[in-house]
C-alpha cells in the first residue's frame, strides 16, 4: 500500500534550505460575485411577467320580447372585416347615401371615432353595435371590446349583433375596391 508521508519532520531544514512559504487559503471571490450578479440580472431580464388576465364577457339573453330599441341618432355600427379592417356607419343605412355613410378605418382610427360619438351623443341614446364578419379574427372581436373599455363606454351601451347580408356585401365590395386580402 502506498503511504503518504505526513510526518513533515523527516529532515531538518538545513541552513541553505528555505522554509516553504505558507500559501494563503483565501481565494479571490470577486469573479464569483461577478458571475452571481450576472446570472441574477440575466434571470430578472429574461423572465416575462406574463400573468394571464381574464376579461369579463356578458352575453345578452336571446329574448325577442326584450329587444332593445335603439335610437337612430345614437347608434353607431362597427363592422369587423378581413385584414384587421374596421368599417362603421352611424344610424341606419339608407340606400341613397350608402357610399358616403359606410366608411372604413383601422383599429388605430376607430378609437377617436368612438370617443367623438360618445361625446356628441346623450348617454341615454348611445349604442354601439358590433358586428363581426366571418372573415375577421378572434383578435379583432376582443380588440373591439377592449376599445370599448379603453374609451370608457359604460357596459350596456355596446352589444354584439349578428351581421346582415347587406352589410356583408358592403364589406366585400369595399374590400375589393381597396384590395384587401
Amino acid at each position: 500500500m502506498a503511504e503518504l508521508d505526513t510526518s513533515g519532520g523527516g529532515h531538518k531544514a538545513g541552513p541553505g534550505v528555505k522554509k516553504p512559504k505558507k500559501l494563503s487559503t483565501r481565494v479571490d471571490l470577486t469573479p464569483m460575485v461577478d458571475l452571481g450578479f450576472l446570472l441574477i440580472t440575466f434571470f430578472v431580464f429574461t423572465t416575462t411577467m406574463s400573468q394571464a388576465t381574464a376579461m369579463n364577457m356578458n352575453e345578452p339573453k336571446d329574448d325577442p320580447e326584450q329587444q332593445l330599441k335603439v335610437k337612430n341618432s345614437g347608434a353607431m355600427t362597427i363592422l369587423l372585416g378581413k385584414g384587421n379592417q374596421v368599417y362603421y356607419y352611424f344610424g341606419e343605412l339608407v340606400p341613397e347615401t350608402i357610399s358616403q355613410e359606410f366608411k372604413s378605418t383601422s383599429f388605430k382610427g376607430i378609437r377617436q371615432i368612438i370617443v367623438d360619438k360618445k361625446k356628441a351623443t346623450p348617454i341615454g341614446d348611445l349604442m354601439y353595435l358590433i358586428k363581426s364578419d366571418s372573415t375577421s379574427t378572434f383578435n379583432n372581436s376582443i380588440d373591439i371590446l377592449d376599445e370599448m373599455s379603453i374609451s370608457a363606454v359604460p357596459p350596456g351601451h355596446y352589444a354584439e349583433v349578428e351581421i346582415t347580408p347587406v352589410e356583408r356585401m358592403l364589406i366585400q365590395k369595399t374590400e375589393e375596391a381597396n384590395g384587401i386580402k
Binding site: 381574464a54 364577457m57 378609437r111
Partner: protein, 217 residues
C-alpha cells in the same frame, strides 16, 4: 518634524459576504418564479387592458388557430362528477375503469364517439393530434360538455362558476369558431364567462386613462 507613518492598508475587501448575497438572491429568484405549466397546445391569446388575474383552477375551453376546440377541466373535485354525468346523459357506455382513465387525461379534445376507442389505446393521444370537440351547429358537443358542467355545479354558488369558466383562444383563429363556442354557452343558459387575455397597458390619453387619473387625484 517627525514623519507620521500611515500604515498601508490592503485594498482587497473580503468578497465572501457579497458572494453569499449574490447567490442567495439568485436562488431566491429561481425558486420564486413560477414555472409555466408546459402547454400541449400552442395558443397566443389576444391582449386586453383588463387587469384581473385569471384563476388557476378553472374550466378552460381552448381553441387553436385552426379552429380545434379543447376542454380542460381544472377543478379536480368536480372533474369526476362532470365526466360521470356526461357518461350517463349521452349514453357513452364507459366502464368505471375507463372513467378513471378519462379523469386522468388533461385535455379533452375528441368527439364523443371516439372517446371509448381512444381510452382503449395503450398510449394517450397527444393533444396536438386530436381532432377537437365538434362545435358545429348540428352537433355541438361542447354544449353537452357544458351541460354536464352545469349539472355538476348545480346547487352551488353560480358566481363561482362564472369566475372559473374561461375561454382561451388563439388570436388568429377566425371569428366563427368563437361564435360557435358562444352558442354552446348560450344553449346552456350561461351568459357570463371570462376570456383569457394577455395584459397590456392602458393607452396614454385614452378615456380610461383620464378616468383613472381623476380617481387618483
Amino acid at each position: 518634524m517627525p514623519k507620521v507613518k500611515i500604515p498601508r492598508k490592503s485594498t482587497t475587501v473580503d468578497m465572501t459576504a457579497m458572494c453569499d448575497v449574490a447567490f442567495l438572491l439568485l436562488t431566491f429568484f429561481i425558486l420564486a418564479t413560477k414555472q409555466k405549466p408546459p402547454e400541449a397546445l400552442a395558443v397566443k391569446p389576444p391582449s386586453s387592458i383588463s387587469s384581473k388575474a385569471a384563476p388557476d383552477e378553472s374550466i378552460l375551453i381552448t381553441f387553436t388557430n385552426d379552429g380545434k376546440v379543447f376542454l380542460l377541466l381544472g377543478d379536480e373535485t368536480k372533474k369526476g362528477a362532470i365526466i360521470e354525468d356526461l357518461n350517463t346523459t349521452r349514453n357513452l357506455g364507459l366502464t368505471p375503469q375507463e372513467l378513471v382513465k378519462l379523469k386522468k387525461t388533461e385535455f379533452i379534445g375528441l368527439p364523443l364517439n371516439q372517446l371509448k376507442s381512444a381510452l382503449a389505446l395503450q398510449k394517450e393521444i397527444p393533444a396536438a393530434q386530436m381532432d377537437g370537440i365538434p362545435t358545429d351547429s348540428t352537433n355541438n358537443e361542447l354544449s353537452y360538455w357544458l351541460r354536464s358542467v352545469t349539472n355538476a355545479y348545480a346547487g352551488e354558488d353560480q358566481k363561482k362558476l362564472e369566475q372559473i369558466l374561461l375561454v382561451k383562444g388563439d388570436g388568429n383563429a377566425k371569428y366563427p369558431v368563437f361564435k360557435r363556442i358562444k352558442a354552446a354557452f348560450k344553449q346552456n343558459e350561461i351568459f357570463k364567462f371570462r376570456i383569457v387575455t394577455n395584459s397590456k397597458d392602458i393607452p396614454l390619453g385614452s378615456e380610461v386613462y383620464k378616468e383613472s387619473r381623476e380617481a387618483n387625484k
